[in-house]
């Protein structure tokens, strides 16, 4: 279990993390979401004792990281897959970590097999692809068979098969009762992997809840309807007091908010309008995330005025 209380990090006059309070529980995969520069990596580095909080603190299983008697046996982490000395072989990199925490060397072979790096274990890691580096980082995290795991962007550079593997790995680690804390900017991936979500924006914790609740509270279900009589239907629905938005790049498709698909279908039928498509669209994590962090993105990209519809700042 990871617990942060009033965790604050200030760089000069910039607050990177601002009085963050959160708990990462064992037995579930907890996603850590936030725009670039929101404070995700700083928070992870403070959990691992690499950066010092300006005030407040964070503990793993009740202890600050530096007080853990054998840290790698309790916390496994993948922060930056490139943070290894490229001149050393993958095997030796892991062997160092094993020695430093007196983990049996047999475990090194085990985790190399687990992540599928047997073929290149004796090769110098500087020639590794991003995906291989990521696997080495995951192997290092699993080395001490720890009860708590931190992964920063674990699927970066992995091929589709690797992504599915990491997803299943996270879930099975959580199912074994471990605490799994994962940051990612890939929303769809997070939606598939994480049960809980902690959202950070401008250094502040914006949400700490279950994935289902987060999406439910921050994005609305809508009905998508496509009709050859879109104009007429649009008018009728607006007159009924419904919020309707046309999707200009998709001929004749409308999205309707706050009503059921039954109501939309009935309205079209009563007026003799044909409907080619009628569907309830579940909100995505991405929508929920965008709606929540719209005001806390550090660097806004300029959006052309006639930008793609559907990407609306709501």
């Amino acid at each position: 279990m990871i617990r942060a209380a009033g965790l604050t990090k200030r760089y000069g006059d910039q607050l990177a993390v601002d009085h963050a309070d959160f708990t990462v529980e064992p037995g579930t995969v907890t996603g850590f979401l936030g725009p670039n520069g929101a404070g995700k990596s700083t928070t992870m580095r403070m959990i691992l004792g690499l950066d010092y909080p300006t005030s407040g603190g964070v503990t793993v299983d009740g202890k600050p990281y530096r007080a853990l008697p054998a840290p790698l046996r309790e916390v496994g982490s993948l922060l930056d897959a490139k943070a290894v000395h490229g001149g050393r072989s993958a095997y030796n990199h892991l062997a160092y970590l094993a020695k430093s925490n007196r983990i049996p060397l047999k475990r090194v072979d085990d985790v190399i097999g687990l992540v599928g790096l047997e073929q290149v274990a004796k090769k110098r890691s500087k020639n590794f692809s991003l995906g291989m580096g990521q696997r080495l980082g995951i192997a290092a995290a699993l080395l001490g068979d720890p009860g708590t795991l931190l992964f920063d962007e674990p699927v970066n550079g992995l091929d589709p098969e690797g992504i599915v593997w990491v997803r299943n790995l996270m879930k099975s680690l959580a199912a074994q009762g471990r605490t799994v804390f994962v940051s990612s900017h890939l929303m769809s991936e997070m939606a598939l992997t994480a049960d809980r979500v902690i959202v950070i924006g401008r250094g502040q914790i914006k949400a700490d809840t279950t994935m289902r609740d987060f999406i439910g509270q921050n994005a609305t279900t809508h009905v998508r309807v496509r009709s050859p009589h879109a104009g007429k239907l649009h008018e009728l629905m607006t007159r009924s007091g419904w919020r309707v938005e046309a999707l200009p790049d998709d001929d004749g498709a409308l999205q309707v908010f706050g009503v059921t698909s039954d109501a939309v279908g009935d309205l079209a039928g009563q007026n003799g309008l044909w409907v080619h498509e009628l569907a309830v669209v579940q909100p995505s994590l991405e929508e929920a995330f965008m709606s929540m962090t719209a005001d806390s993105v550090e660097y806004h990209a300029g959006m052309p005025a006639a930008g793609p519809a559907g990407v609306e700042a709501r």
Partner: protein
């Protein structure tokens, strides 16, 4: 690929100790090629230069001795003062700066969050390794440099006054230099910066201080690390006009204190700074 690991950790509850840190650092040190090649350079480069310079100087030595103005026998160790000093210093810097340039330091610190233990382990290992290789190199330089000198009847001997002390002293000095490099590496966290500053301090600034007039200039020259520590590597005629430098062991003690001071500052910053 299986996605599961064993949940039961057979050795959970173990508390890591300083011995584990040393074992880990030793593995790290010997599993990068730069360590091996720097030490090979130290040994081969120093020995070769000692031999070549003695070959070139042998005639001059014979003439000077005939003229009653004998030259200093410690020329046999001269290779150590070129290649040896540089290699020992660079090895010390690289031992930590490479971790910063690769980012590996963050991995090391998650494994060993009690940071000072990493610094102390690195210092102990470096000091021992460089002393052993330095001692072998000093003997090699002494024997190889002696060959051309002996051929002209101006050879050196282990029984020459101060010769044995200079051989062991050279190994100690190189060992101290590697720690000096390690300390600056911890302070600056940057390979090129630490190498430039350290080497210019020893090779350039150390010599330039004798241009500063007055007793302050004399004092400053004496305490510059290369001058203070290097005295222990001298014997023969150079050691006789010791006006300008400390006596060998006094100078070496000053040098060791300087290195320790830098190392302590390095340790404090290492402990305090974000990684």
């Amino acid at each position: 690929m299986s996605a599961t690991t064993t949940a039961a950790n057979p050795t959970a509850g173990y508390r890591t100790g300083f011995g584990d840190v040393v074992a880990g650092e030793w593995l790290k040190l010997r599993t990068v090629r730069s360590t091996f090649w720097t030490l090979v350079t130290l040994f081969v480069g120093s020995s070769a230069i000692s031999l070549l310079i003695c070959l070139a100087a042998a005639d001059e030595f014979a003439k000077d001795k005939a003229a009653g103005k004998p030259d200093s026998g410690d020329i046999v160790l001269v290779g150590l003062l070129f290649v040896g000093q540089i290699a020992a210093y660079v090895l010390g810097v690289m031992t930590i700066s490479a971790e910063y340039s690769t980012g590996g330091i963050r991995t090391s610190l998650t494994a060993v969050p009690r940071r000072v233990e990493i610094l102390v382990a690195k210092a102990i290992l470096l000091a021992v390794i460089v002393f052993v290789v330095g001692l072998a190199t000093a003997f090699a330089c002494f024997s190889l440099g002696d060959i051309p000198l002996r051929a002209k009847n101006v050879g050196v001997s282990m029984s020459d006054p101060g010769a044995t002390r200079a051989i062991f002293g050279s190994a100690l000095y190189l060992s101290g230099l590697s720690i000096f490099g390690l300390a600056l590496g911890f302070l600056l966290r940057h390979t090129a910066g630490a190498i430039t500053i350290g080497l210019s301090l020893i090779f350039i600034i150390g010599g330039l201080t004798q241009l500063i007039p007055g007793s302050f200039g004399k004092w400053l020259y004496k305490v510059m690390p290369g001058n203070a520590g290097g005295g222990i590597t001298q014997f023969g005629e150079t050691a006789k006009n010791a006006e300008k430098v400390f006596a060998p062991w006094t100078g070496f003690t000053v040098f060791v204190l300087e290195v320790l001071m830098l190392l302590i500052v390095g340790a404090i910053l290492f402990e305090k700074r974000d990684a």
